[in-house]
Amino acid sequence: MASAASEEGTPADRGYGAGARAGLPFAVATVVLGVSFGVLARQLGWGVVAPIVCSAVVLSGSAQFAAASILGAGGGVGTATLAAVFVNARFLPMGLAVAPSLKGSRLRRALEGQAVVDASWALANRGDGSFERSFLIGATVPQLSAWILGTAVGAVAGGFLADPEALGLDVIFPAFFLALLAEELRDRQSVAVAVLGGLIALSLVPFAPPGIPVVAACLAALLGLRGRP
């Protein structure tokens, strides 16, 4: 595979360091999210250690918020886990997408695939179906560190902190995704896919469990089977 790639000129990969720098703005927002999770879990009676361990082994904000709030509302272990699976189901198509860009054995690729988080996946996406492998991993490192650190701060400080949402930092993610989206709208087909994906997601929100609308939006990409317009 490497020889085939080098014949066409090895695609550029900006590398781990550039990835880490690109991931920094997200790391700032992630600290805030992590603090929110730590505070929430502490309020739900998780103590100090469990929220930190949770962030260190799950590494996924949306899934952790979903599971914690369901447990907090009196739901069972099965319901909480299922909600987290729904919320994170988008990592299945995202993992399929990055797989050919990763390196080494299947096991190593599976481990490298753990570096997939929304922002890194979008930043490392070349737009032709391939990904910058080391840039993606580099972009994830500061975000995961920030996630665990933020959780620790939130769990330890508990209710002594101001509401982080009042600072407006929670809109960094959608605003950044909007900027990345603007770069993806290259032709009529990608615009059509974006519009269709948005319609699918919004129309499912009232009916489907959280997470499912985003996964279902992926179906819009099947317009690509029709070839370029």
Binding site: V57, A97, P100, P213
Partner: protein
């Protein structure tokens, strides 16, 4: 507390499996041209959905609040070709301001 630890373990396992599945199944196989085209189009579909879900929904409800003002302001800044960090600053400041005024 047993429930909490059990949930943490199961959710960790589920998240690992979801991210590992694609690379485990595909290995080093490259996708065909049609599948590659579909993969390339995943980004606009997913990003649009993430923007909308993070901006105008809360749980299973569609809501209009300060987040929409913030993201819309960032969109205007981007249309005016503002640098990315400026656009993000506009989003954060607008959201915080609207929350302050409406609280």
């Amino acid at each position: 507390m047993t429930q909490v630890w059990l949930t943490i373990g199961l959710v960790a396992l589920a998240s690992f499996t979801l991210k590992a599945a694609g690379p485990l199944v595909l290995g080093d196989r490259q996708l065909g041209p049609r599948a590659t085209r579909v993969v390339a189009l995943l980004a606009p579909a997913l990003l649009t959905a993430l923007v909308l879900v993070d901006t105008v929904t809360s749980g299973q409800r569609l809501v209009v609040d300060a987040r929409l003002a913030g993201v819309a302001a960032a969109g205007v800044a981007m249309l005016l070709r503002a640098p990315l960090l400026v656009s993000l600053g506009v989003a954060v400041a607008t959201t915080a301001l609207v929350r302050l005024l409406s609280s």
